[in-house]
Amino acid sequence: MLEVQDLTKRYGEVLALDGCNFSVSRGRIVGFLGPNGAGKTTTMRCIFGLARPDAGGVLWRGREVGREERRRFGYMPEERGLYPRMRVHEQLAYFAELSGLGGPAAAAAADRWLERLGLADRARSRVEELSHGNQQRVQLAVAMAHGPELLVLDEPFSGLDPIGVESVAGLLAELVSEGVTVLFSSHQLDLVEDVCQDVVIIDHGRVVLSGDVLELRASSSRRSLRVTVDGAPWIPSIGGVSVVPREEGRPRVLVDASTDLDEILRLAQQAGQVTQFSFEPPSLSDLFFETVTRKGSR
């Protein structure tokens, strides 16, 4: 289990981390979410000793994370992070060796990972010759090749097309089923909602929300409502409705969880023919904005 305790880090005038506090349970896939500049990368850098926090610390299984602990971690920094002109297999083996594997073991790990990612035929290609999605997969392999217990990925989905997202997400799910703990960051909350089991949502260097995704959504006092009447979006005129501003063309509202569904449906049917009616727990970004707004107005 990874515990991030009261991390504080200031870069000149900017307070990047302001007492960041959360933990990651073993064998879970945890989304570390928040807008750009929230402090995600700084936190990850602190985990790997790439940045020194001004205060606070990081524990792994109850022990302060040091060189020895980090050998059991795998890290993938945001975008690139590979030698563009080095060959794929060589690169994998090099990083595996640098992570402590012996030469033959590192080469074998590189073989195994290329096979697993379906990139065996690209073993001798230069990294720069691969597609963006494949480069991302090689990066994942680099982070995983030495068999770490904790995998930390900074924005693994950014810049990927839906197929790329699907394939990386699938791989992460496989790893978690093999017992690896995964912590990954993203600023695209909706994109990764289905990927993570737990979330830690951070804003302005502080954790604003964390826990099991499904539980968080279910336990929210709000519900997401989307109704289409006569082919057009329809918004009920009842109390406690807030329009979700971000979704173009398909307006959605948040209403109290206790709202009488029958009443809304009746109102909608009076307005015309109901072609769509969905009433769901709020999305992660709904939760995020709700939390941030509530804190801001306080």
């Binding site: 850098r45 790997f48 000793g49 790439l50 940045a51 020194r52 980090r70 971690f73 890290y75 993938m76 920094p77 945001e78 975008e79 690139r80 992070g81 590979l82 030698y83 563009p84 002109r85 080095m86 090099y94 990083f95 060796e97 640098l98 992570s99 680099v142 982070a143």
Partner: protein, 394 residues
Amino acid sequence: MRVPTAKVLLVARRELFQRARSRAFRIGTAIVALAAVGFVVLPSALAGAPSTRRVGVVGEHSASFRAALSTAAAAFDTEVTTTVYADVRAGQRALRSGDADVLLVGSDELVWKQGADPELSAIVASAVQAAEQQRVIHDLGLSPEEAAALLQPTPIRSRALEPVSEDEAARMGLATIALVLLFSSISVFGGFLVTGVIEEKANRVVEVLLSRARPDELLAGKVLGMGLLGLGQVLLVGACVLAALLAVGTADLPEATPGMVGWVVLWFVLGYAFYSVVYAATGALASRQEDAQSVSVPVTMLSLGAYFLSFVAMESPDGLLARVCSFLPPTAPFVMAVRAAVGTVTLWEVGMAVLLMALSIYGLIKLGGRIYAGAILRIGPKVRLRDAWRAAGS
């Protein structure tokens, strides 16, 4: 600071093989080797080419003139052929078309196409003189003994106040090759380090690396790998130069040559170690290749200054300037190499210079390591030295 060698060696191995395998590097090495060989071979090839001069003659000339001409030519290590032209006009035509190098009209006028060649002029003049003496001796009716006594040249001894032996001239040449090789290798491999460090920083590989190895391990590995490659190139080019020297003629090879190769290797290792750490540390200050130039300018200027100073030192290798500079770490690699080739260096001087060099390299590794560590993860505009220093210290 205890550096676990395994990771350093891993990093060094990657640096070495990745660079050695690049086509640009191989082509560059071939060009350097060819240029060095050319530097050795070309002067003697050019000097050895046209050794036969053609003298056109208008008017009467005796057999003794022709004999005297070849004797005089032999004294200048050259050969002369003579062609007789019917009149001045025909002779001048030959001169213009390049069939003759000089035209002797009668026995008192030399005609050139553009300007006089002093050597050929002296050869012809002395032949004319000799032929004239022969004629006078013949006219006087002297016996062969009397003639021989008359023509017997008075032996003149010559001595030089500051003699420059052939060996010494060759040593100068060798020192020049050594200097160019030292300077260009240190600059080129230092430059490779700068671009390598910036590349890793720009594409964030360094974060992957530093999650697995410490900054000092990474720095040491990069410096070591690039240094071994540089040493390999120096040895290769040195071997090519030696082979070329041997091929051109062993007479040109000063006795000091094998020792000189040893000195170049020693001073490359020390000079490279000194400059490379500085290059790598300054490279860490930049995040983009565009800034590579500007961050490394101070280092380049320093090595360039040391390089020029060493040419001054070549003029008077045992002068005060040369002596002082051969102890100062930034200039020592170049100036000591020069003094070893053309001057007189005592063992204690070399030992002292090596010691000072080693001490300063140790200090630089500490200093450069700290700057590298403080700057390598700071992406964005150029990092100021002071900020890098502080970042690593806190």
